[in-house]
């Protein structure tokens, strides 16, 4: 067991090391100290309880966003719409969170999460239904829906749902009621626990249920799935809805557990990062967790890194790109490490692009 896990983790781990090494070269070229930069990065991401909390908080939407992309990939769909789904989830969860008063926590919080998830699901389903009925390419539709969701939620935050209390001039909702807040236990945000549970749930659904079997069948061979009596249209539509649900939940947790409200412009890019996470995890729902943690840690520590060593936080993006490259092109890593694949090992190369055109 441990051996197989190690074997599976060898390339990703080596990729991280290589990515950091190349990043170190860039940092050195810029005349900064690599040691203090990386030291601050780690300290800022895991140095104390606060840092850990921040890392976990950052990892939470990344895990959800990664799952939203990975789940859709399993059905052969490329969901670039995580950002839009996350935004509507965040906005509507906040809407329920501040809109209802005097409701007990056991009702209010689940309801707010549910509404956020449902909003994301509906947003994702638009792309899925259009794909199933008219063949409209989900990539186009989800890209467009991202823009629409950004505008819609900005408008909600600036107009009907704007916080009118005091001197607030910001496009944001009021704080959610305490009964809709997601608790944080010391350094452990409950939202992250939900993210981990969601990852395992995704794995379970995909691997252990008939529905997951259908999703994977559609992704692996759409034609054979149809011949096997699986309704391909339904699977595409419902998979996009599930993907949207996941992203929407990620957004809802941001609103209810991190920001305490929905505010225009604060969830920038979270949904897009899901693509990176899903690819780093090679679309494996469980692997999404460490991938999210890694990126979350780097993002949580970036400010301290800049503060301590003067290295611009954008280096994080460069390192991420490099890690992704090495993960995706194991040939390079294997060559560098002189790792030899077992000759009988099946070709585990990831092929997402093959699902692009169908």
């Amino acid at each position: 067991m441990t051996r197989t896990v190690l074997r599976a983790a060898a390339v990703p781990l080596a990729s991280v090391v290589l990515g950091l090494l190349l990043g170190a070269v860039l940092i050195t070229v810029q005349g900064h100290s690599v040691l203090s930069a990386y030291g601050a990065l780690v300290l800022g991401g895991a140095g104390d309880a606060d840092a850990l909390l921040r890392t976990l908080q950052k990892a939470t939407p990344l895990v959800f966003g990664g799952l939203a992309v990975a789940f859709a990939f399993k059905a052969g769909l490329f969901n670039i719409g995580g950002q839009g789904q996350l935004l509507v989830g965040a906005a509507f969860a906040a809407g329920v969170g501040f809109g209802l008063e005097g409701v007990p926590l056991v009702v209010h919080l689940p309801l707010a999460l549910l509404v956020g998830g449902a909003a994301g699901a509906a947003w994702g389903a638009i792309a899925g239904v259009l794909k199933a009925t008219s063949g409209a390419h989900e990539v186009i539709v989800t890209i467009m829906l991202n823009f629409v969701a950004g505008n819609l939620t900005d408008w909600l935050a600036a107009n009907p749902w704007q916080d009118r209390s005091g001197s607030n001039i910001i496009a944001r909702t009021p704080l959610v009621e305490p009964s809709a807040e997601i608790p944080t236990w010391g350094w452990l945000p409950a939202g992250f626990v939900l993210a981990v549970m969601a990852a395992f749930a995704c794995w379970f659904i995909l691997e252990r249920t008939t529905y997951g079997f259908e999703v994977r069948s559609v992704g692996a061979n759409r034609h054979a799935a149809r011949y096997a009596g699986i309704s391909v249209g339904w699977i595409m539509a419902s998979t996009m809805a599930v993907a949207g649900l996941l992203a929407g939940l990620g957004g809802a947790i941001e609103s209810l557990g991190v920001d305490g409200r929905f505010e225009a412009g604060v969830n920038v890019g979270l949904g897009f990062e899901g693509i990176t996470i899903a690819l780093l995890a090679r679309t494996n729902p469980i692997a999404v967790i460490p991938a999210g943690l890694l990126v979350g840690l780097m993002e949580a520590g970036a400010a301290k890194m800049q503060f301590e060593s003067g290295v611009a936080p954008e280096i994080i993006d460069v390192i991420q790109a490099l890690i992704l490259l090495f993960v995706a092109a194991p040939l390079i890593v294997r060559w560098l490490l002189r790792l030899r694949d077992r000759p009988d090992a099946p070709d585990r190369r990831l092929t997402l692009g093959a699902g692009w055109g169908r």
């Binding site: 860039l26 490329f78 670039i80 259009l130 009925t133 008219s134 063949g135 409209a136 390419h137 990539v139 186009i140 539709v141 890209i143 467009m144 829906l145 823009f147 629409v148 505008n151 819609l152 900005d154 408008w155 600036a158 107009n159 693509i275 990176t276 690819l279 611009a312 954008e314 280096i315 994080i316 993006d317 460069v318 390192i319 991420q320 790109a321 490099l322 992704l324 490259l325 993960v327 995706a328 092109a329 040939l331 390079i332 190369r349 990831l350 092929t351 997402l352 692009g353 093959a354 699902g355 692009w356 055109g357 169908r358």
Partner: protein, 353 residues
């Protein structure tokens, strides 16, 4: 519906297979021609009503379309060769950065363009090396380009650098520029826009009529068949994806040196992804993509115009949705008219046996 490229299911291939010439018009083509006629009539009507505004909207249309069509052409050469390129956004951004930096340092816009195109070529080559050479998944390869470009351009962004000279200025094409309606929009443009227009036509002819275009179609549809007649699939894919990158590089140079005149972080603003949408919408032909890009540019310019005129008393956020909502509707409707088939080998790594 005035679906651009809503013509025959695969207008390019239909052409390819009908060397003898036009053989009857499909209903889709009839619809799109009818739609185009209505559109032209509408534009003419508006022009008679308010020339300045119509000119402004048409100018904005062409302007927004130029970048999109360059990106779309980059994407379509790749896809026709069987390689998905979702890294156009990164190619735009990176080449805009180098174009701006080189133009600023050398004082020559032309050198800037050269640098932009070279960067695009280099990034195209990297995409090829990853997806063709290393047989990395193509979606991942594109994503790597996007993230790396965003990170590198921000990391090396030189605060306070400015172009130090005016960006590319419009050139009037003699009497053509005085034509009503289209004069300003098409014939009083800066140089890279003209270049892009020429490239659209040239590439269209090349893709559908040239030996290269035919071989490109072959390696995208059936690389095995192409290989049996001696076409070096790997080599051609390398070349195509690399050269296509040059088009995105030109797009980046256009963005930095002609459209805007400066560089700022993340200035491509998702237009690389929009270009992808435009490519698919335009059914992977340059003219189709240009029609789609114009359509998208038109809705963008129109929503700006609605705001300038206070046409509708609704929040900017809703007016701003117009291009995206309309695109979704049109893409869905076009799908109902006839689905487009993708190149059969798209997204699949090719291995030499």
């Amino acid at each position: 519906m005035t679906a651009p490229g809503g013509a025959a299911t695969r207008p390019d291939l239909a052409l390819a297979s009908r060397d003898a010439g036009l053989r009857g018009w499909s209903p889709q083509r009839m619809w799109s021609v009818a739609g185009a006629v209505v559109l032209v009539a509408l534009v003419w009507g508006f022009y008679a009503w308010d020339g300045a505004q119509t000119t402004a909207v048409l100018g904005g249309t062409v302007r927004a379309a130029t970048l999109l069509v360059l990106g779309a052409m980059c994407g379509m050469i790749g896809e026709r060769s069987g390689i998905v390129n979702i890294g156009i956004e990164g190619q735009f951004l990176m080449s805009a950065f180098t174009a701006f930096t080189v133009a600023s340092m050398s004082g020559s816009l032309f050198l800037g363009v050269v640098a932009g195109v070279s960067t695009g070529l280099a990034m195209g080559w990297m995409l090829a090396a990853m997806s063709v050479g290393l047989r990395t998944d193509q979606i991942i390869a594109g994503t790597v380009l996007n993230i790396a470009a965003l990170g590198l351009t921000s990391f090396f962004y030189d605060r306070g650098r400015s172009l130090g000279q005016p960006k590319y200025q419009s050139i009037e094409l003699g009497p053509l520029a005085d034509l009503p309606v289209v004069g300003t929009a098409l014939f009083n443009r800066p140089p890279l826009t003209y270049l892009a227009l020429v490239l659209v036509v040239v590439l269209h002819v090349l893709l559908l009529r040239s030996v290269w275009g035919m071989r490109t179609t072959a390696i995208g549809e059936h690389p095995g068949a192409a290989a049996t007649v001696g076409i070096d699939v790997i080599r051609l894919r390398y070349w195509n994806v690399t050269l296509a990158g040059g088009l995105a590089g030109l797009g980046g140079a256009y963005l930095a040196l002609e459209s805007v005149g400066t560089f700022t972080r993340a200035m491509s603003g998702g237009r690389g992804f929009l270009a992808l949408a435009v490519m698919i919408f335009g059914r992977r032909t340059p003219l189709g993509a240009y029609a789609a890009a114009l359509f998208f540019g038109f809705t963008t310019a129109l929503q700006g115009q609605f705001q300038l005129n206070d046409t509708f008393d609704i929040p900017a956020q809703f007016v701003g949705m117009l291009p995206f909502v309309v695109t979704i509707i049109v893409v869905a409707a076009a799908g109902l008219f006839g689905r487009m088939r993708d190149p059969a080998a798209l997204g699949q790594p090719y291995e030499v046996r």
